[in-house]
């Protein structure tokens, strides 16, 4: 290949590439708006006593299956917690087996692709590797995307937000039809608990802005941009102190539980109670309830409690 040929070919390929990206790549296969229909008619399913995957399968059975949330051809954005460079037994990140099962389920329900990512706190490659999350996503058949470069993020407006009126959000979240949030329940030094709402800090570029501008308010504000269609909370091994990173296994309690709900506030409220807190004592939950982001009063909810 001479230089001219090389240049010509390069030009053609890159033109084709950008053509693809600007046309075909953007056509949503199905109209967005993946409003679920709660088949099991439960607002929240809480399972305890089993292994993570076992409890997950049972919970989804109660919820009416992943088909309720993922329609054939849709793309799924999955937000696990893979923020820390610690092994799975330290439970600072979401259980990898659980993630693999969820990815598998989404694809079984007909998802065209499942994209998982997390803007990590520790070094991203080590976190993706040592948390076992990247391997799990691949094992399930999905794709783990990097989220450590600003180029992957696009600015969005958050109407109705008090402090976080704009945020740079990972482009895959913007493009995906379904959003599934898979946090791990942990103690948190500053926000007392970290569950589903706090987990969404890993889909934005500038976390410091949140810390600088009333953290609790920003956490609640972000839910106005996009609430996950489904929240699956890993509470198998729960970090009850020294969170969110933990120092060793002695920070953990084996609660062997799992919570599933389409309502991000309800699931956070239930999870907070498992750590011994009243939901209204947690700043971002209280604010979210006031802003009407979800339902915090668990007495009003149709909750299915299962032991396996």
């Amino acid at each position: 290949m001479d230089r001219r040929q090389f240049l010509r070919k390069g030009f053609i390929y890159s033109a084709l590439g950008s053509l693809y990206a600007s046309t075909l790549g953007r056509i949503p296969l199905f109209a967005a708006g993946s409003q679920h229909t709660s088949a099991g008619n439960y607002d929240l399913v809480a399972v305890r006593g089993g292994e993570p995957v076992e409890m997950y399968r049972r919970a989804m059975e109660e919820m009416g299956g992943m088909e309720q949330f993922v329609k054939p051809g849709q793309t799924v954005a999955l937000k696990p917690n893979a923020s820390w460079d610690v092994p799975p037994e330290r439970a600072a990140n979401t259980n990898p087996d659980l993630i693999a099962a969820i990815v598998e389920d989404c694809l079984k329900a007909g998802a065209s692709q499942v994209y998982a990512f997390d803007h990590t706190c520790d070094e991203w490659e080590r976190s993706y590797d040592n948390s076992g999350v990247e391997a799990a996503v691949r094992r399930g058949g999905g794709r783990m995307l990097h989220a450590h470069l600003e180029r992957s993020y696009q600015e969005v407006d958050i109407p109705g937000a008090k402090r976080l009126t704009k945020a740079k959000v990972h482009e895959r979240l913007i493009q995906s039809d379904v959003f599934i949030n898979v946090p791990v329940l942990k103690h948190h030094g500053a926000t007392t608990v970290t569950v589903a709402m706090k987990n969404l800090m890993g889909v934005v570029w500038d976390r410091r802005f949140w810390h600088r501008n009333d953290l609790h308010q920003c956490i609640a504000d972000f839910c106005l941009y996009r609430k996950p269609d489904l929240n699956i909370v890993d509470a198998y091994l729960v970090m009850t102190q020294n969170g969110p990173r933990g120092t060793s296994q002695s920070d953990l309690t084996r609660m062997q539980s799992l919570l599933v709900s389409p309502d991000i506030l309800a699931v956070d409220a239930a999870a907070s109670m498992m750590l011994g807190h009243q939901p209204e004592d947690i700043g971002h939950l209280r604010i979210a309830a006031e802003m009407g982001i979800g339902r915090m009063n668990l007495d009003d909810l149709n909750i299915q409690r299962v032991s396996v």
């Binding site: 890159s14 950008s18 693809y20 990206a21 790549g25 809480a46 305890r48 460079d85 610690v86 439970a91 692709q113 706190c121 520790d122 070094e123 490659e125 080590r126 040592n130 794709r143 783990m144 995307l145 990097h146 450590h148 470069l149 180029r151 948190h188 030094g189 500053a190 926000t191 976390r207 410091r208 802005f209 810390h211 600088r212 501008n213 009333d214 953290l215 609790h216 308010q217 091994l237 009850t240 020294n242 969110p244 990173r245 120092t247 060793s248 296994q249 002695s250 953990l252 309690t253 084996r254 062997q256 539980s257 409220a269 239930a270 109670m273 498992m274 011994g276 004592d281 909750i303 409690r305």
Partner: protein
């Protein structure tokens, strides 16, 4: 073996060695090249000597003895094969010659040996080194400069290419490869690297190995040793027709067919001359040192004596210059100024874990930036004058940019000089390279009365804990005995322009305490959900 094959062998070996070292600096891990590169790392002359001085007798620290032995037998083969900068210069020189007319591609013998300049530089370098400053060595050592050039220019270029490829694939929904993180070096360091790179390119393009035979301290030292080499290149009196073809390809400009002499101290054993000679007019053989190869009429009667004299002369000259370059040493032990009262500017630089102390680090780091390129979080950056003139251009940890990942050992694995020692994960997690200081009065929690906790969130040892403050808020509290100085708190802190929590280095690394880790996970005693 025919002598004209030697050049081909030399080129093949040097290219393999060059690739192996380049791949090391680019963090490209190819099986054969990686092992070769790691062996070669131990064969770099000055890094190996530094390593030996740092750790004394280990097999890997004795590479320099092998190099000296090799030089004593075959001459400066080091400069032609093992030295990556030498190979780089050969490439530049060969390339530059392609753009010239045939006749202008030639080298010419020069009798100007620049002896005074050569040994003054070598003497000053060694003397400064003995006096505790690696300033000149870090500026002139060929391995160090190859490292600087690679890390400053080759690695970014490679990362850019790699990432362009990765991002192109991503457009087609292929996510098989990960993009690499680009580091940004301080502009001052980039300028110095650029200056060195340009100087090397210009010198090589102009006159081949003039750098190696004038400035390079490794070249000068090996030149001294090579003049006693067992095998040497020599003219075959009867066969040489004085056609000068060998002189035209001698990039060290050390062959003189007129007087039939070879300047052994300048010859880099590239063997180009053998391939160029149509007549077998050169041979490679043992020549007893006493035997005079030939007398140089025009030159000084005994050049070796002059060299010795000059060497001694420059030694004394160098000695006198030491007080000018000495900088006062760092205070020993932990600095004990109270937290919250010191402006950030007063803090000590932080050296990588495993570097033991500022003193050890400054005395052994050759500023090759291998750790800079290997660091996955890019927290290690070349400093400029942070360590003073003694540690000129040596790296430090910059927590504005990033922080040291708790479980990572990458920098401790790559250092060729022993400036950063190998560690186990358990050891590394307890090494205190600095201590966090919390400035309560500029903290978000105190000033804005909102929760934050970014520092504590990132703290891997819980040296920074959130404790109850007022109105249900939590405020950071530093427990220094747990702090390892990783800088995660400083990096995460959202205040600007000055962070409310920051890390100051400790000049002698310490051992941090750890929170009790003996228990496993507790069992949950409740049998139903609390809701």
């Amino acid at each position: 073996m025919k002598l004209y094959h030697l050049k081909k062998i030399r080129i093949a070996v040097s290219l393999i060695f060059f690739a192996a070292l380049l791949f090391l600096f680019l963090n490209i891990e190819l099986p054969f090249f990686k092992q070769t590169g790691n062996v070669l790392l131990h064969l770099q002359l000055f890094p190996s000597i530094l390593h030996f001085l740092a750790v004394f007798f280990t097999i890997s620290a004795l590479g320099f003895l092998l190099v000296i032995l090799l030089t004593l037998i075959f001459g400066r083969v080091y400069c032609s094969s093992i030295c990556p900068l030498g190979t780089l210069m050969d490439m530049v020189s060969a390339l530059a010659r392609q753009f010239r007319k045939k006749k202008q591609r030639r080298f010419y013998f020069t009798s100007n040996r620049k002896t005074v300049l050569r040994y003054t530089i070598l003497g000053a370098t060694i003397l400064l080194w003995i006096s505790g400053s690696l300033f000149l060595l870090n500026l002139l050592d060929p391995y160090s400069n190859f490292g600087k050039i690679s890390t400053s220019f080759f690695q970014p270029a490679y990362i850019w290419l790699h990432n362009t490829f990765v991002f192109t694939l991503e457009r087609f929904d292929i996510f098989a490869f990960r993009p690499l993180s680009m580091h940004t070096l301080p502009w001052g360091v980039m300028l110095v690297s650029l200056g060195i790179f340009l100087a090397i390119v210009i010198l090589a393009a102009w006159r081949g190995r003039i750098f190696c035979n004038t400035i390079c301290p490794a070249g000068s030292l090996l030149g001294l040793i090579a003049s006693k080499a067992y095998y040497r290149i020599a003219f075959t009196e009867d066969a040489c027709t004085m056609c000068k073809k060998c002189e035209w390809v001698c990039k060290a400009e050390c062959l003189d067919s007129k007087s039939k002499t070879v300047d052994k101290s300048r010859c880099v054993s590239c063997f180009n001359c053998f391939s160029s000679c149509p007549n077998h007019g050169l041979h490679y053989t043992h020549i007893p040192l006493t035997a005079k190869t030939s007398t140089n009429q025009g030159e000084v009667a005994n050049p070796q004596n002059v060299e010795k004299r000059n060497f001694l002369l420059t030694l004394t000259a160098g000695l006198l210059s030491i007080p000018l370059l000495r900088r006062k040493a760092f205070p020993q032990g932990t600095d004990t100024q109270s937290p919250g009262m010191i402006p950030h500017g007063d803090r000590l630089p932080v050296t990588p874990p495993g570097s033991l102390s500022h003193e050890n680090f400054n005395n052994h780091c050759i500023a090759c930036y291998r750790c800079v390129g290997a660091c996955p979080t890019k927290v290690i950056v070349p400093a400029f004058f942070d360590f003073g003139l003694e540690g000129f251009m040596q790296p430090k940890l910059d927590f504005e940019k990033s922080f040291c990942n708790f479980d990572c050992l990458d920098c401790t694995r790559v250092c060729p000089t022993g400036a950063i020692r190998k560690q186990t994960v358990e050891e590394k997690q307890q090494i205190r390279i600095g201590v966090a200081r919390f400035l309560s009065e500029s903290c978000i929690v105190t000033v804005d009365r909102t929760d934050c906790g970014a520092c504590s969130e990132h703290c891997p040892t819980k040296a920074v804990q959130m404790v109850p403050y007022r109105d249900g808020l939590f405020i950071p509290q530093v427990t220094p005995q747990y702090c390892v100085g990783c800088g995660a708190c400083e990096f995460a802190c959202p205040t600007s322009p000055y962070k409310a929590i920051y890390v100051s280095g400790v000049s002698k690394h310490e051992t941090a305490q750890t929170i009790d880790h003996t228990e496993g996970p507790r069992e949950d005693d409740s049998d139903e959900f609390p809701f």
